[in-house]
Symmetry: C2
Subunit: 440 residues, 2 copies
């Protein structure tokens, strides 16, 4: 069979896989479906659905990790509070690229930012009776909302599309003034839309968090990857924008997965606002015998989550951060490859009549990075994804990210060969032809 795949064939495979709506599939289901459709059609798909590093792991990390293994750390439990060398170099890394002063004692490694998010949401929901809901700025990372669901914590969320700039304040207050919001979760740059919150927007979030005593959980998985200005020089502006400049109620999550292409080893750090880390919560003390947020994060939540994080991966991240701080490894420069792929592939989409859905950061065009969002005329998500799959392009629907807009998320990480760009061009031409021939 060649492309396009028939409506009937795709329907049969979805039924086999217990998928009723193609626009509801999670990333993992989408990967599985793509595999089956590649088998069926014999065509290699253009893979836009999953955000994996498309660059080799930073060798400095690999070398340090191997050295640590040779030094015998495999038998030794890592301290749950973290390897001192990692805490130190993360503190310097945050100073160098975010320009914030956070002492090593307030920085804790986690098994990826996924573990950080899970346990931060869990702890935040237990800080103060009545503050039992996590607020999400959408579109966002679908597992973040699933985390709250899994642990039985209430959720609230809104699509930022219509609430950029000063409009954000009223929207946040609409939720926060009810008094039940424990924490607000957002990523910056944003997965999936690559929206980069402006300093003004971060200030608004920070001010609201202070006013309503809400914890800002800031996911910096893609930090310094807004390439519109060069954030590659340690200890020199411009720095990564962050809510931490505008409130003491923050925790930053910094993953090694994308910035050092180290996703396989599941390593990240969380950096607490020093005030929050040391803040005493009577409800925590009553429940666990420990009152401070930082102590409980380490000794209660992370302890029972996994008893700490891979000892050797902590050595890797410590070395990579140190190298970045010292200017020996320019991680931003390495990642600009994603910018190049975004520019190329967006051009191809636009040539075939597609538009960027989340196209502006207020009055500035959106940057080119790891993800972007794509829509076609007035096609709804289900129809668009279905056409894409039939034409050999896999992607996830924006509806799975909490977005209320029609479109898909495209991730450029797998567009790593010139042939992928050629294929994309051909498949989109096929899509246009197919769509035109089938539309009523």
């Amino acid at each position: 069979m060649k492309l396009p795949i028939s409506k009937q064939a795709i329907g049969e495979i979805m039924a086999q896989m217990d998928i009723s709506k193609i626009s509801d599939t999670t990333i993992r289901q989408s990967v599985a479906l793509t595999g089956k459709l590649e088998q069926l059609s014999g065509a290699e798909f253009v893979r836009l659905e999953i955000g994996v590093p498309g660059i080799k792991a930073c060798q400095i990390g690999v070398d340090a990790q191997k050295q640590a293994l040779d030094n015998g750390i495999a038998s030794i439990y890592p301290a749950i509070s973290g390897l001192p060398a990692l805490k130190e170099s993360a503190s310097r890394f945050i100073k160098a690229f975010i320009n914030q002063d956070i002492g090593p004692e307030c920085i804790v490694p986690t098994v990826g930012s996924m573990q950080a998010g899970f346990n931060l949401m869990m702890e935040c929901s237990q800080l103060t009776p009545g503050k039992d809901t996590i607020l999400y700025i959408n579109p966002g990372f679908a597992p973040h909302t699933l985390q709250a669901k899994v642990m039985g914590v209430k959720r609230a969320m809104f699509d930022i599309y219509h609430f950029r700039g000063e409009k954000l304040r009223a929207k946040l207050e609409e939720y926060m003034e009810q008094g039940n919001i424990a924490a607000i979760v957002f990523s910056n740059p944003n997965n999936p839309s690559w929206v980069c919150l402006t300093e003004e927007e971060l200030r608004i979030i920070g001010e609201c968090c202070t006013k309503y005593d809400v914890v800002a959980l800031e996911d910096l998985a893609y930090m310094c990857m807004d390439f519109r200005n060069d954030k590659s020089k340690p200890f020199e502006p411009p720095y990564q924008p962050t809510v931490s400049r505008y409130t003491d109620n923050y925790v930053m999550m910094i993953s090694g997965s994308k910035i050092f292409s180290y996703a396989g080893e599941r390593i990240a750090v969380v950096a607490f606002s020093p005030k929050l880390f040391n803040r005493e919560y009577p409800h925590l003390r009553e429940t666990y015998g420990l009152g401070r947020m930082g102590d409980n994060f380490i000794l209660t939540f992370l302890y029972v989550a996994s008893s700490g994080t891979s000892h050797s991966a902590q050595h890797a991240l410590a070395a990579m951060m140190q190298a970045a701080v010292d200017g020996r490894y320019n991680f931003v420069e390495e990642l600009k490859e994603y910018q190049r792929r975004a520019i190329r592939s967006k051009e191809i989409f636009e040539k075939h009549g597609f538009t960027i859905v989340y196209s502006m950061d207020n009055d500035e065009n959106i940057g080119d990075g790891f993800y972007y969002t794509i829509g076609y005329k007035d096609l709804d998500n289900e129809t668009l994804i279905n056409y894409f799959m039939r034409c050999g392009i896999s992607a996830i629907s924006l509806s799975t990210t909490g977005s209320e807009q029609a479109g898909i998320r495209a991730c450029v990480s797998r567009l790593n060969r010139e042939q992928d760009m050629v294929n994309l061009d051909e498949r989109l031409a096929l899509f246009v032809k197919l769509y035109d021939s089938e539309k009523q």
Copy 2:
């Protein structure tokens, strides 16, 4: 200052550390307190409080992990269902040393058995409305009960001391017949008492789990370490006793931390009963859109917990299990070092008038392994631990393990030098002298 430390000095340090009862301290607090008391006294403590591997990591794992890093896996997300090579070798390992047939598809890696326990308890508590309570056979691993507390799941527990053999059935039924028990948690050999459940007792647990539809969560962290008979030969009896012979409602947790001294890398596997793995739970399907227990464990619970487990550590565990299966690495023989230390140190305790608290497995003397329990005359936990700390011996109270007996848990892993045995002998002599002089 020399030993013994005065009552007043220890009281002051406890107050500084916000510890009101020394017998309530967790392992981590006990480690911290010991550090402070070592500083104060200038004496190196005999460390019986923490269970860390006291043997070097299995080199086969270290080599495989380094090789995997050289092969570039650091940048590649591990499949959440696990590395195929690990699933395969764990399946063979389970056949070789437990004599159970569990296909690779039912075996999933986790970030230590800690992550396994957390997510299994969480999932079990969500399988069936009304089954909302985890039952623990105590004494047990304190974090297991903390896990349920952290996630807001109800707990029930009893001390097995008076309920060995056939008496166990009535005790289990007392809880299970109420219909609210989702899962039962136990370790075998047991941490902290080194009680090894007999085949009869495992059969009773299994029969009750089937009768009342309860999931048995069997922690095999110390598998094959009941050295009373030699379980070191792959594919030859005797095998590790297991509840999995007596019910289809089981999940086994097998950690690399102790059996391969690989604690630093946080790597374990869970092995589901094939029937349970594939069992459809309507409540899961309603909640998550996926019905089967195994699918949800992987795609829902582990996904949001940490997006999988260190890619390189999975290669390490795969290689170590394979070597054990092939007879190239005799992990049981390596671990017999703990038996030697247990025999030596128990002799020293007994010489000074101490007794083993959990001393029998029904009609058989308890084995010598990683842990044992120690009591002295009619001293209560608080008094005994306080004396021990004053005399330069750190240990945790049995009360923190859910035991209702008076005594302490001793872990032999840190008694790795002849000097430690000499120190233990001297400190116990000091204890006896101090106790005799102070008692009324």
